[in-house]
């Protein structure tokens, strides 16, 4: 039995992530915790996140999770989700500019108020099911069809031009749907809300040894 710790830093509902992982893996114990000892003793770690980046980063720092996450990514597979992924970048434009954990090179940018696909004006937030073009061969994409759809909901994005991009989605701009480096795999979409494709990705995480 392996253990996955979902880092609880008070930002939003972690129930869905926890239930979705339990749903796909009978031999994984899922714990939602803010206890550093519990997180350190887990085999894998999830950094989730919803809401605004300033509040997320403030809580991550207040609870000492910035150093903890930097330490954990050296040791075991870590999955970042949504704002959890954005928090791993160097900097975000949201809330007037907020520094991130800098685990990946790159900036989190705003979609802007006039986003277009050709003639068609696109709504912000980017909300709904969009296709993800995979970088082939990453074990986290195992058993998921290329261009399968995942559920997104966000107004800020990371450009697909960052070195670490391993999944790309088009929404007026070419955005990083997933970034990965060594033990870290982070996604902009919500796997816990992306039905079959998302559940498969979570299943892959329960089996991933952290090597791309």
């Amino acid at each position: 039995m392996s253990t996955i710790a979902i880092i609880d830093y008070g930002m939003g509902n972690l129930h869905s992530v926890s239930k979705a992982i339990e749903h796909v893996s009978t031999n994984t114990k899922v714990v939602v915790s803010s206890d550093q000892h519990v997180i350190r003793s887990a085999d894998r770690v999830v950094l989730p996140g919803v809401g605004a980046i300033r509040d997320c980063m403030a809580e991550i720092k207040r609870l000492g999770f910035d150093e903890l996450v930097k330490e954990q990514v050296q040791q075991k597979p870590v999955l970042g989700i949504c704002v959890g992924m954005q928090a791993m970048m160097e900097h975000s434009q949201e809330n007037g500019g907020v520094d991130g954990l800098a685990l990946f090179e790159g900036e989190v940018e705003y979609f802007g108020d006039s986003l277009y696909d050709g003639e068609q004006r696109l709504k912000v937030p980017h909300m709904g099911w969009n296709q993800v073009k995979q970088s082939p061969g990453h074990p986290m994409w195992h058993n998921i069809d290329d261009l399968d759809r995942f559920y997104f909901v966000h107004s800020y994005y990371v450009s697909s031009s960052v070195n670490a991009a391993v999944g790309v989605t088009e929404y007026g701009k070419s955005i990083a749907a997933a970034v990965s480096k060594k033990n870290i795999f982070s996604v902009q979409f919500h796997p816990e809300k992306s039905q079959h494709a998302g559940l498969q990705l979570l299943k892959n995480f329960t089996e991933w040894d952290g090597v791309a």
């Binding site: 709904g128 909901v153 809300k193 039905q195």
Partner: protein, 257 residues
């Protein structure tokens, strides 16, 4: 390659049972909400909306429990509406497993509540529900006003202006219901849908009046909606979600399969 239009089955839930009436009367029992939501998830629904029409306080606990159970078994986005009046109501629903909450009457009485909610929980989880009725005479340019209390109370507020205001305050999405069409099976009110879609830059869900699959397609192609919401045509087995998606896809609408 691009964002798919969404089909959202809506569950009107009273005292822990799915019900559906015609313009809020003539309620028929349509089953256990968790079982109904699971069925739609299996059929490929893109989201599920749960509208709590229970008026009593005791009913709230039942609702929270049902949302918890639904969120444990259904892995697509879940919106909960009905009786969301305070920040604590939002927190309770999000903690129970909802991804978004839908605010209706409370926004009309206190618009700043929407701003407060968006600042606290993020725009991505704040849906503002607008119940609109046509108030222009036949032949006049379309004009729609907001009604509260299940379409019974007029407010005198212009629906298009209201949608703009809600968007500016931080709403992440608009759930637009035509009270003239709700339960009538004669199709969405395309006029108000198009007017609001063009007025705001956030996604709009069209609701109220779906009687067949062409109505769903029209909501997107004519109304410009980002998502379409329906209840009766799915609850009573007239059409499956897959049939609806195939039909819409055949009309050139991008759908998720």
């Amino acid at each position: 390659m691009g964002l798919a239009k969404r089909i959202i089955p809506c569950l009107d839930v009273d005292q822990g049972r799915v019900v559906k009436g015609v313009q809020f009367v003539d309620i028929r029992d349509a089953g256990d909400p968790v079982e109904v939501a699971k069925k739609y998830d299996e059929q490929g629904a893109d989201e599920v909306t749960f509208l709590d029409i229970t008026a009593s306080h005791e009913g709230r606990d039942t609702t929270i429990h049902t949302v918890e159970k639904m969120a444990s078994e259904v892995f697509i986005p879940l919106t909960v509406g009905g009786g969301i009046r305070k920040v604590e109501d939002i927190r309770d629903m999000l903690n129970a497993g909802a991804d978004k909450v839908s605010i209706n009457t409370a926004a009309v009485f206190n618009p700043d509540f929407v701003g407060e909610a968006a600042a606290r929980f993020g725009s991505q989880c704040i849906v503002v529900a607008i119940d609109a009725k046509c108030v222009s005479a036949p032949g006049e340019p379309g004009r729609w006003e907001i009604f509260t209390h299940g379409g019974r109370k007029p407010t005198g507020i212009d629906a298009v202006e209201w949608a703009k205001k809600m968007s500016a305050l931080g709403a992440g999405e608009i759930l637009l219901t035509s009270m003239d069409r709700d339960g009538m099976k004669s199709g969405f009110d395309i006029g108000v849908t198009r007017a609001i879609v063009d007025a705001v830059n956030i996604p709009v869900i069209a609701s109220g009046g779906v009687g067949n699959l062409q109505h769903l397609a029209d909501g997107v192609t004519l109304g410009g909606a980002d998502a379409v919401l329906a209840a009766s045509i799915f609850h009573f087995g007239e059409y499956s979600i897959q049939q609806a998606k195939t039909f819409m896809s055949d009309q050139g609408i991008e759908m998720r399969f």
